[in-house]
Symmetry: C2
Subunit: 243 residues, 2 copies
């Protein structure tokens, strides 16, 4: 494939060039807002990152990551949103968190910056904890500055968390929901009677499956969060986008 060869060659040339770079070279943006993509490309250009590309779908982003590895011209940085609107095109990856997971499997060393309007510190905290992202920039009133600061920080190997979040992350860290918990809660939110859930869990090869265990787990979750009723829990999980 001559195209790939050419790309790899170009990349090597860059790497070998004597001009000391102090910024990322190849950046991939995964973001479904076209306006945001345009603006982002422009901002990167101002930082002399000319080799930036974007994908409007998670699947496309993954493909580009894979191809870039094949071509020997891997991306240095992935900037991704969290939520992608489903517009009918069936996608195997539907959100930014899943995209990060899969991308990491292919290219563990890639730096990841999340750029999203997710305002919930608990969710963001999870990203740093479980996905080891390198930075988070909240789409907001200072995002133009934050983005530049984040790029600089991450390039130097630092993590980037905006001040506003750093505080409240500690405050709010209430409870970790396991997959098991989420499965149960989703069933309830979907209208299932609790006595139907054991069968469902068996089907999903999750355990424990007994009604008693489910009751107990639910009681524990609610107790830890200070809730008394399932409805409260559902509301909470919806707010935190756990379900």
């Amino acid at each position: 494939m001559p195209v790939h060869r050419a790309q790899a060659w170009k990349y090597k040339l860059k790497s070998l060039s004597l001009k000391a770079k102090n910024m990322f070279e190849r950046v991939l943006i995964a973001e479904d807002q076209q306006s945001m993509n345009f603006w982002m490309l422009q901002t990167l250009k101002e930082l002399e990152i000319t080799d930036a590309h974007y994908a409007c779908y998670c699947d496309d982003a993954l493909t580009r990551i894979k191809n870039s590895l094949k071509d020997g011209a891997p991306f240095d940085l992935l900037i991704t949103d969290l939520s992608f609107v489903d517009d009918g095109r069936t996608q195997s990856i539907s959100n930014g968190a899943d995209l990060i997971k899969v991308v990491r499997q292919h290219q563990p060393t890639i730096k990841v910056l999340v750029f999203s309007s997710e305002p919930n510190p608990t969710v963001v905290n999870m990203l740093f904890d479980k996905l080891a992202i390198d930075g988070y920039v909240h789409k907001g009133r200072t995002d133009t500055i934050d983005l530049k600061a984040a790029l600089a920080a991450i390039y130097k190997g630092k993590k980037f968390i905006p001040e506003a979040f750093r505080v409240s992350i500690r405050q709010k860290n209430a409870f970790k929901f396991s997959n098991y918990d989420v499965a149960i809660i989703e069933q309830i939110a979907g209208g299932a009677n609790q006595n139907k859930i054991p069968d469902y869990l068996k089907q999903q090869n999750m355990k424990p499956t007994s009604l008693s265990s489910i009751e107990k787990r639910l009681a524990q979750i609610k107790d830890e969060l200070g809730f008394k009723k399932n409805e409260q829990l559902i509301a909470y999980c919806k707010d935190l986008k756990i379900i």
Copy 2:
């Protein structure tokens, strides 16, 4: 106030100029994402709208609207987001829908374009119904084109709804929640036992207040939406941002 005089004069000059304009002249953007504001200003400039301004807070937006009227140089168009992140600065208006309501009280003729990432057709439908907005552009994979199309359409006095929404608005229009309904559902989502709700409703001067009526109303709502359990209803209401 010399500044205001000058502005008004400038505005009159423009209006009287022989050059036939086919686009808005004075535009106000209410949007809390700085990046989006920058991009929007640029886009408007491409359309030769140079007299565009933005506000990061709803209250600021309202102030500018008021001032523009005082100065005799009113805005032709308000472009606003729906959700504004609360960053601690206390605001009397906290979201786009409320902003539109208040702005309309001061300047009923102003055109309103909502530019948001709200994906729920029911919510958007409400905006056209209750707030009589002139257009809706969804921040998404085609928003750069949509925005320009919307501006052109609205300028010609047409309404603008993207195709993708036009369809599903009809499909999904399921149920209208009254204040009474919302009050009950909020109580449940907050963890209240149903037998505590009568007292609450009396306190709020809402009726009927009997437990039986509440049970009946809940049953009816769930029946119409095809739900069987409260938890399902809570999940639904959270998704639709009814609570």
